[in-house]
């Protein structure tokens, strides 16, 4: 992954590419590519590094979240310098992410994981489509558009693929609420029981 990153940085010095480390045991690190540079980076990966196969496109929803960080501060307490740990909460705004998994059939290497992020989750949800680079991304970008609401600019046929055209929501987003048509149960329990109680109280 590092040599791929180096190659991109040498060839496209103006492109924003970051390495996102995966601390887990799988250690599948990925490349976070700037939104405007995705197309150029993708073409470079295909034409120069031989990544000729895009096996998978998926969406990820990142709702706004709080990140806790511990910061070390040196403070003067009673004339003595002390290091004090403070926990700082930082708000991270939400965004959507399109993830591409690339392989090279020719060089027998891969996967290289590309991540492209949108600006936010409501209005600024466009990224460049990579379907003109890899044909196989076509249906999967449509799926990410359907279920997550990521708009792929330059996609030849961006329509919903699983849900119907009139559908307004994006079901795989974390804040999606399924319609309240819960199944009849003779003795409801857990979540269904809570819903039944709420319904009877409202009626």
């Amino acid at each position: 992954m590092n040599d791929v990153l180096e190659a991109i940085r040498t060839a496209l010095p103006q492109a924003i590419v970051e390495l996102v480390n995966n601390p887990g045991p799988s250690a599948q690190h990925s490349l976070l590519v700037g939104r405007k540079d995705a197309r150029a980076v993708a073409e470079f990966l295909r034409d120069s590094l031989g990544f000729d196969f895009c096996s998978n496109v998926s969406g990820v929803d990142w709702p706004p979240r709080k990140v806790k960080e511990t910061v070390l501060n040196t403070e003067m307490v009673d004339g003595v310098e002390k290091e004090i740990k403070t926990t700082v909460e930082r708000d991270v705004p939400g965004y959507l992410e399109a993830v591409y998994h690339l392989y090279s059939i020719r060089n027998k290497t891969g996967p290289v994981t590309l991540r492209v992020r949108t600006g936010d989750r409501d209005a600024d949800v466009s990224v460049h489509s990579l379907t003109p680079v890899w044909k196989s991304a076509d249906f999967q970008e449509r799926e990410a558009f359907d279920l997550f609401g990521i708009r792929f600019d330059g996609h030849p046929d961006l329509r919903r693929i699983l849900m119907w055209e009139e559908f307004a929501d994006h079901p795989m987003r974390k804040d999606y609420m399924a319609p309240d048509d819960f199944e009849y149960e003779p003795t409801p329990h857990d979540k269904i029981l809570a819903k039944v109680k709420a319904r009877t109280e409202a009626a």
């Binding site: 119907w164 009139e166 999606y176 048509d181 009849y184």
Partner: protein, 206 residues
Amino acid sequence: MLDEDLRSDLQKRGIFVASFEDLYNWGRKSSLWPLQFGLACCAIEMIATAAARFDMARFGAEVFRPSPRQADLMIIAGTVTKKMAPLVVRLYNQMAEPKYVIAMGACAISGGPFKEGYNVLKGIDRYIPVDVAIPGCPPRPEALLEGLIKLQKKIEGQRLFGPNRARHADTRDAADYPVPSYGAHDLEPPMNPAVFKPEPSRREAE
């Protein structure tokens, strides 16, 4: 009705006596033509049932019709997604009376393993009347045959005249079931209250 003793007595003398109703129902139950369509993995079991090993032809139901106009029986074989549900209801409406529905497998009955999902209809009985429900995931071909025999028993007992006559003999009942439309969040309406009448839940009634 004909006296049973008299009937068997006549039969011993070589005279077969039957009511028009019995003859009519016997004819219908022995040539049920299913509509040829499958929705998911249950359809594979349905195909196996129709093929040589299990041979649904023994029960007179081997002629899978590719047109709803020629079919008597709709086997809902598989998961009914919300996108597919209006088409299934429309096909049912296009079938000529008398018509019957077998809900095959957990998905067709209740949504099955997908019932907490966003895109699967929680049972086709929300829109059309179901005559026989076959549990299983998927049900084996034997189970489908058992369901078919159950349906034949039901047809045998249907009355053509009188106050308890079957739906297809009752001209007062409108045969068309409303086809749901695609809404912004769900199918509209989410169920047909004229068809879908679950018992109130026990805890709700308490």
